[in-house]
């Protein structure tokens, strides 16, 4: 105990004149931990709030939903559940709105929610007046979205027309209820009583209607048991009905936000890693500056382990203070994040302190700081006391110190574990860890190679300044390895963040609203299609696409029925592709946004021939089928056997209707079908006129304004990109601090040499040029290696993980390269300024003595 007290006291005493040097070490940790705690606090609060608010989002304990009314045999099962019930029909439709100042009516694409019963059971519809939600069903009125009413200057008491039926507006709907989908943002809601739907004549064959049945179960009812019974659920699945309980909803919501969660976690971790690089490089340089003191301690009888303890305590305590400050700042910063993200999230995110994030920040921060500091600190044990007699004695750090390798292994293991804890993804954690190890090895080899090359091909003649600058790269006390590794890793991570951020943002930008078709007409019946096309052309608008759609279901594939596949435990097909109702079209040519990648496209079949269809590549992979495989379809009760003759790839960035399955002409012409027409309006005025004309003549047709959807989408994506920029900014800032601190600390390496040169008469400009040469080479090599590594990693991440097209942004690369080189040279020269401004003795006393 006495010994430890002495070592602790020595650690404290020895740190006194080094706190400036150690400040940079601490700043790296502070920023890294701040990002980690802020982001994790936000994440945990988000998850907690999702949990708390799930009940009011679902509005009931159990929901059964499908695309048709509940068949009698399923109704029996639903009715066997005790409790209160309600139902809802949900569909999109055009609403006609009277205008105050003209005789013409305006139109608006809306989401109609036709409610039967006292739904929602949980949560509240907020209306103005307050009692409107209790009256609208009885009075045959409508609750209309507040935004829609404001946009069209509607007041309570005005009316709104849905199809053939007019509804008096009973109240304003002040909240968006029950939906977290983006669809809710595109189309404002209108609530009506379900008994009024028939009068609107909006629901016809082929109409897309979602039927939902809600149950509020009594306390004690085991929802999970009811939901998990395979025998009970099988008939629901067979009829394509989905059953969701509150517990499912929680899981779904958590999954829906897992992407945001993972992204934020990765960003936080990147910030932390950059901080760790800062820790390792600053401790490495710090320990180098302490070698002579350590040798004296050893000479006076301090054991290797005691010397190690002295410096470990210094680093650990300062690191822990850094972690504490980072945690406090991160928790404080968390107050900013919800305000920043609130428009994007369907929830109010609470501003509570997340103790879990704080504990994680403290533990992860302390462990990684200690581990990353450990590698350079271990060398302290082996510093020979002989250094007191021979300053140039080099042979004291055993190259094969086994503990060093144990420390490396512990770092890799800890990184992997933390990544795993944060992302909950084994593969991502492994890729990230392996990537870092490879990057480290590449940079280590690069620095070793450079030292070897410079030494081997050193120019014996030539400019003194150049030769001095070059020889600094391999002479004793060189900083080549530490700077190339820390600058290289920092540059690699920064460039990768920029690259990936840029790629995500450019993919967002490529969904350019201006050049795309901006209007889609759904639910056109066969007899209406020519008239609608004519109306479109009359208004001098192009018919960009006019396609028939036949809805059908997959009944079997590769020789087995769907029921048989469902029983097959070796099945590889994904659920969505088996159960989803397919909307299929037929034509004899490929569209311009489709590319044939395998087989031959067959445009038409004669009666009696095999039906050869074309399918989308992703769809085929999801069902695990390929060329020649047999698919059996249930088309409104009739079974059609088809064979895959071609595979297509569809350009998903174009705003056209896309079809996973394409039939040839000559098969589906007689099947029940509806049509879709895509057009482009030149301006808002024509759009409004066209919309009114279509809704008036064909009330069953839904006109979707893609322009406004794109605007909403762009809005959301702008917010997402803002979050990405903001969070990435954290990491970028940490990276810069790390780069700067590594460089600033490197001054202690060169100061003696510079002072000696100065003493023997070197001009200030010569010292500057020597240092500039060394730093420019180091900066250039580090930046090049970092960019090379980030390009490899960026290619892997974008193509394999994000499935985006990879492209190198040469401008960004050139800017980053010159930025890193410039920063390195600038700080290198900044480090030399003291040597030039003060007397050599003063500098030695201040910086070394």
């Amino acid at each position: 105990m006495g010994q430890f007290a002495f070592l602790a006291k020595t650690a404290l005493r020895d740190s006194r004149k080094n706190r400036g040097k150690l400040f940079m070490f601490m700043s790296s940790i502070v920023l890294g931990i701040m990002a980690l705690v802020a982001i994790n606090s936000f994440n945990y609060n988000l998850v907690k709030d999702i949990d708390n608010q799930t009940k009011s989002v679902l509005g009931a304990d159990i929901m059964v939903e499908g695309k048709k009314p509940l068949p009698a045999h399923l109704k029996v099962v639903v009715d066997s559940v005790p409790g209160q019930r309600a139902s809802q029909m949900e569909f999109f439709s055009m609403a006609l709105i009277d205008t105050k100042d003209s005789a013409e009516q305006e139109t608006q694409f809306t989401r109609v929610q036709a409610v039967e019963g006292n739904f929602p059971f949980y949560g509240n519809l907020v209306t103005d007046p307050k009692d409107a939600k209790e009256r609208y069903q009885e009075e045959g009125g409508a609750l209309v979205d507040d935004g829609l009413m404001l946009e069209h200057a509607l007041s309570v008491g005005d009316s709104i027309q849905l199809g053939r039926q007019r509804f008096p507006i009973t109240g304003r709907l002040m909240n968006s209820f029950g939906s977290v989908s983006l669809g809710a943002s595109f189309a404002p809601s209108i609530y009506i009583d379900q008994s009024r739907v028939k009068a609107t004549e909006l629901v016809q064959t082929g109409s897309m209607v979602e039927y939902k049945y809600f149950i509020k179960t009594p306390e004690g009812f085991d929802r999970e048991e009811w939901d998990n019974s395979a025998v009970r659920m099988k008939p629901f699945h067979a009829e394509d009905f989905r059953v969701t309980t509150i517990e499912d909803q929680k899981r779904n919501l958590n999954r829906a936000f897992s992407f945001l969660n993972s992204f934020l976690n990765i960003i936080a971790l990147v910030a932390l890693l950059l901080g760790c690089i800062g820790v390792a490089s600053s401790v490495f340089i710090y320990i180098k500056s302490k070698i002579s003191s350590i040798a004296v301690f050893r000479c006076l009888g301090m054991k290797g382990s005691q010397a190690f303890t002295v410096y470990f305590l210094q680093i650990f305590i300062l690191g822990f203070i850094g972690v504490l400050i980072g945690t406090a700042l991160g928790s404080a910063l968390q107050l900013v994040l919800p305000a920043l993200l609130k428009d994007f999230l369907p929830y109010e995110v609470s501003l509570s302190i997340s103790w879990r994030a704080i504990m994680e920040g403290l533990s992860i921060g302390t462990i990684v700081t200690s581990l990353f500091a450990l590698v350079p600190l271990l060398a302290v044990r082996l510093i020979s006391p002989l250094r007191t007699l021979r300053a140039s004695f080099e042979d004291d750090v055993a190259p094969r110190d086994p503990l060093k390798w144990v420390a490396y292994a512990a770092i890799v293991a800890a990184l992997y574990l933390f990544l795993w804890t944060l992302t909950d993804n084994v593969r991502t954690s492994m890729y990230f860890t392996v990537g870092l190890v490879i990057a480290f090895c590449l940079l280590y080899l690069t620095s070793t190679g450079i030292m070897w090359l410079v030494r081997k091909y050193f120019p014996t003649n030539g400019n003194f300044v150049l030769r001095q600058g070059l020889s600094n790269l391999y002479r004793p006390n060189n900083q080549t390895r530490i700077l190339i590794i820390s600058l290289g890793l920092g540059t690699a991570i920064l460039t990768m963040l920029f690259t990936i951020r840029g790629l995500i943002l450019s993919n967002v930008d490529s969904m350019d609203a201006g050049s795309q078709p901006n209007m889609v007409l759904y639910s056109i019946e066969t007899e209406q299609k020519d008239e609608v096309a004519a109306l479109t052309r009359e208004m001098e608008m192009p018919v960009v696409q006019e396609v028939p759609i036949v809805t059908m279901k997959l009944a079997g594939w590769k020789g087995k029925s769907k029921a048989e596949w469902m029983q097959d435990s070796t099945r590889t097909a994904e659920r969505w592709v088996m159960h989803r109702e397919a909307r299929v079209t037929y034509r004899d040519t490929l569209a311009s946004d489709e590319t044939l990648i395998a087989g031959d496209f067959t445009g038409a079949v004669s009666p009696g021939d095999s039906v050869l269809i074309s399918v989308d590549k992703g769809w085929a992979e999801s069902l695990d089928v390929w060329l020649g495989d047999e698919l059996v379809w249930n088309v409104q009760g009739a079974l059609i056997t088809t064979y895959i003759s071609s595979i297509r790839e569809i350009e998903f960035r174009s705003m056209r209707t896309r079809f996973f399955v394409l039939f040839p002409n000559g098969v589906l012409e007689a099947a029940p079908q509806f049509h879709v027409l895509v057009t482009k309006t030149p301006n808002n005025e024509v759009m409004a006129k066209y919309r009114r004309a279509v809704v008036k003549a064909f009330p069953n047709i839904s006109v979707v304004d893609l322009g406004s959807i794109l605007t909403t989408l762009t809005d959301i994506l702008t917010k997402i990109s803002y979050i990405i920029k903001f969070m990435a900014g954290f990491s970028i800032l940490t990276g810069l601090i790390v780069l700067i601190s590594s460089l600033l600390l490197s001054k202690y390496q060169r100061i003696r040499e510079s002072v000696l040169l100065r003493t023997i008469g070197a001009q200030g400009s010569q010292i500057l040029k020597i240092n500039a040469t060394e730093y420019a080479i180091l900066g250039g090599i580090s930046a090049f290696a970092g960019i090379f590594i980030s390009t490899l990693a960026g290619y892997f991440i974008t193509t394999v993980e994000l499935e985006l097209e990879f492209a190198i942004n040469w401008w960004a690369v050139v800017i980053i390269f010159f930025f890193v080189v410039g920063l390195t040279v600038l700080i290198g020269l900044w480090n030399s300024r003291e040597v030039l401004q003060r007397s050599p003795l003063e500098v030695l006393r201040r910086e070394v003595g």
């Binding site: 002495f6 004149k17 301690f297 006076l300 054991k303 007699l389």
Partner: protein
């Protein structure tokens, strides 16, 4: 008098790539307790290497060194550190004070390592004896060369060592300061009855010790006693 330091058949070879450089060749000598010995010789003759080996700062390639009755050639690094802490003191040409510690704290280190509760008191007394009672709170960079060497001497004597090794103790000092340091060194040496081993170029300083050994090219070529010492 009993032997306190004994070197038997010492060889030290440094390897540089495939080349071998023999720095010390077959060195044999013994030092009695309380004796003062100077090691002299031209630059590169192996004086400092021999001092490092005798003090247990390095290990010989072959041969045996017995210090304070213990063979240090086969000792672990930790045992050697412990022996140095208990029985050995050092004075260096370039003082080797810890720049981040005050004069008093520098002197206290060996005693604190030994776990002595009286470290502060003993060190304060010692600094007073070397004439630095009023400079105890100063850092090395705030002291002159002579003052730094006084602190170094105080530190060397703080653990009442049996053997004190000094490497060119006046090499970095002017003549006047050097002389005062020398007299301080011998004064404390006599008062504490410490064995003194000094590496020096200074023949006048060497002449003040009881015995002198001369090295040349890594070999011991002369071992002589000064007049006052009995052969």
């Amino acid at each position: 008098m009993s032997s306190i330091l004994s070197a038997k058949g010492i060889n030290k070879i440094y390897k540089s790539g495939s080349r071998e450089l023999a720095v010390l060749k077959d060195i044999d000598f013994e030092v009695q307790a309380g004796q003062s010995l100077s090691i002299i010789g031209p630059s590169g003759s192996g004086k400092t290497t021999l001092l490092g080996l005798c003090a247990g700062l390095d290990s010989p390639t072959s041969g045996e060194i017995i210090l304070c009755g213990e063979s240090i050639s086969s000792m672990s690094e930790n045992d050697k550190a412990s022996l140095r802490n208990r029985k050995v003191g050092f004075i260096f040409q370039n003082f080797q004070l810890i720049p981040t510690l005050t004069a008093l704290e520098n002197v206290m280190i060996p005693l604190e390592l030994l776990g002595q509760a009286s470290a502060r008191k003993v060190s304060t007394d010692l600094l007073g004896r070397v004439g630095l009672g009023d400079r105890m709170g100063h850092y090395p960079s705030q002291l002159s060369g002579g003052e730094q060497q006084r602190v170094s001497i105080a530190r060397a004597f703080s653990n009442t060592p049996q053997v004190l090794f000094a490497d060119e103790p006046t090499g970095n000092l002017d003549e006047e300061t050097g002389e005062s340091i020398e007299s301080l060194l011998f004064q404390l040496n006599q008062a504490e009855d410490t064995t003194l081993v000094i590496v020096t170029h200074d023949l006048i300083l060497a002449g003040k010790t009881d015995r002198m050994i001369r090295l040349k090219g890594g070999k011991l070529i002369e071992d002589s006693y000064n007049k006052t010492e009995q052969q």
